[in-house]
Subunit: 388 residues, 2 copies
């Protein structure tokens, strides 16, 4: 056999998988574990979506769709941009994908050569750096802090750029911090990417999950951007694996050729289901759930100070809080394991999100109902009093 490719050792497993493994062992032994480590909504897929899926599973062959997805889904997405954001996105620029994973792979596959550099903030979604490594490119993790709400700044992009920097990845709302790019920062980010000749890729997969403000899209500012989106989070369709890209004018036929070769097409039943996710029938269900997330966030931000965990940038979106652990632990990685073993609370260690101060942070996902969140707070307080 040939030895493994270099990327195999460069791409590390997620630390959270170890947490999950330990959690399952504890549960197997009868423990009650509160799962705040998982980046998945705890709601069922909305019933109109499920009904559409059941209808799609019919007597006709379940054939491939076009490589860029069902036209009715692409049209529904275009309408949705118009109706929700008052932004006109030509349906030709919309590419349905097998979740945002395939969207990111296509986006980077279209613009990153081996040896190139890809700029991204640190902390960030762990797969971003690994998609760069997939293509033998180098992810450049730029440390961010609460001063910019843990978002990459235009100045950082200019300072860290090199001639072989081919892409910049920004996420708003972001994982793990839940923070947004400030409205007045977008034009600077766009100009900075333009000035260094890099493609701006914006991850908007938590777009609808914002609290105390309206959802936003970078497409209101420019069409010279690649937008990654998904039905997983706001539409609560994680396991279905459907997402989409919005690409700059003129890109679609190139992306379509890549998509045909790499994926053939996104899963057909899931695409039919996703059409219903954008229907007026679903809107009130999704908004009620968004309000529930908002309420959980408020409870968590109110109660967390009792634990000693510190949140220093307002998490206005997604369903995550990124908390500083320094007041209660020397090493957040050890803390996560100990808190899980001793109290049955599962968090995600900062290490999963980058190299910048990872051992002083944890991510808390509020993908559990309020009573469970309050119970988790109690347990962390108890853990602290017992270990401190």
């Amino acid at each position: 056999m040939h030895p493994f490719a270099r990327r195999v050792s460069a791409i590390a497993p997620f630390e959270v998988m170890e947490v999950l493994g330990l959690a399952r062992e504890l549960e197997h032994g009868g423990a009650d574990v509160i799962h705040l480590e998982v980046g998945e909504p705890d709601f069922a897929t909305p019933e109109p979506v499920r009904e559409a899926a059941r209808r799609a599973v019919c007597d006709a062959p379940m054939t491939y769709t076009s490589g860029i997805g069902l036209i009715e889904l692409r049209e529904a997405i275009a309408r949705w941009y118009h109706d929700i954001f008052r932004v006109t996105v030509d349906v030709d620029r919309i590419v349905v994908t097998t979740g945002s994973s395939a969207a990111l792979l296509l986006a980077l596959g279209a613009c990153v050569n081996s040896g190139d550099r890809v700029l991204m903030g640190d902390p960030a979604y762990p797969c971003n750096r690994n998609f760069a490594r997939l293509f033998d490119a180098e992810p450049i993790l730029v440390p961010t802090d609460s001063g910019s709400a843990y978002q990459l700044t235009a100045d950082q992009i200019r300072v860290r750029a090199t001639p072989d920097t081919s892409a910049v990845i920004v996420a708003s709302p972001a994982n793990p911090t839940g923070t947004l790019v400030a409205d007045d920062a977008w034009d600077g980010l766009i100009a900075a990417c333009d000035s260094i000749g890099a493609t701006l890729i914006v991850d908007e997969i938590y777009q609808g999950l914002v609290y105390g403000r309206s959802p936003h899209t970078v497409l209101a500012h420019t069409d010279q951007v690649v937008v990654v989106n998904s039905f997983s989070k706001y539409f609560q369709m994680t396991g279905w694996r459907v997402g989409w890209l919005v690409v700059p004018p003129g890109w679609t036929r190139h992306i379509e050729t890549l998509a045909q070769n790499l994926f053939i097409c996104p899963p057909t039943p899931s695409q039919h289901a996703a059409v219903a996710a954008l229907s007026p029938e679903c809107a009130p269900i999704l908004d009620a759930r968004r309000r529930e997330f908002a309420n959980r966030r408020d409870v968590l931000l109110r109660e967390l100070p009792r634990t000693g965990l510190v949140v220093d940038a307002v998490p206005d979106g997604a369903f995550y809080v990124y908390a500083d652990t320094r007041a209660i632990a020397d090493d957040s990685f050890a803390m996560v394991r100990d808190l899980l073993s001793a109290q049955g609370v599962a968090l995600t260690p900062g290490r999963d999100f980058g190299d910048h101060a990872p051992d002083t942070h944890v991510r808390i996902a509020y993908t559990q109902p309020v009573p469970r969140l309050l119970e988790a707070i109690q347990r962390i307080v108890r853990w602290r009093s017992e270990t401190g």
Copy 2:
């Protein structure tokens, strides 16, 4: 914006897409087109599979599965290898994927560095060469002919190998030829790959679709091989996007890390459906359909000589015939377009499958019922008499 990556111009669109576009135009104008270009079974997904999918779409959140798939599906695949092939495959070596596309991406991602070479026969499945290009590797298309049933030989592998040859791709049954690797050729292929230090990747996605002989797996010969398989063809689940890999012992944790990062997981409803595809309930349905394919193949091989198209290697599997067009056309690419416009018969031009004599071959997919195949034969005979 950054310019497109080099792979974007290296990866060409499928010619068959142009055929399909023209066919749709003709149908829009009222023409009756016989579609023999499409690589998809014309049968509905078996009802027990659809029923399992409907059951899976329930009140519980449709969450991600493990990156390597549902354990019950992996176990069912392991049992299936035992029951059908009498081969023991440890469940730990089975990785469920988002169709064979994701399987190929993971297989090459695990062993191919940028700048490496990947050997494959010519003609072959067009995506094979493009997956190599995805990783900035060079696909080496080795011409094959009827002497080896259009299969790569051990000698060819040894002769064409270089120190940077990291993988060899073989398919049995093969697309576009429908031919199998001879039973006594496997050990030589395995030894040749071993001697040049390359990973052997065997595409078995048409495995159950063999006629007049028993299905076969390379896993009966070695565990030092990466097998790509799929629920698309034999199980008639194309649009569902579920496939699998069997990897050598010790590979799984590396493949799992790659899979988590690149795909998160295969589509969950499709995985639940696929479990039912392996159930005893489905077996008689699938076997009846296999016999229908066998019958279509026999009809086609019996009638094709009337058209002047020549099949010079026995297509014992898949649902394709690869035919030499030299007796009736100078250029198979022009012939495909003309035959479609004049007679409404859609074939796939040889150009999609490689560089070796592509303009003297077409692929005919027998994914239509016998009466339609006979009608297509009539039309080709008529086309020939009118153009000749």
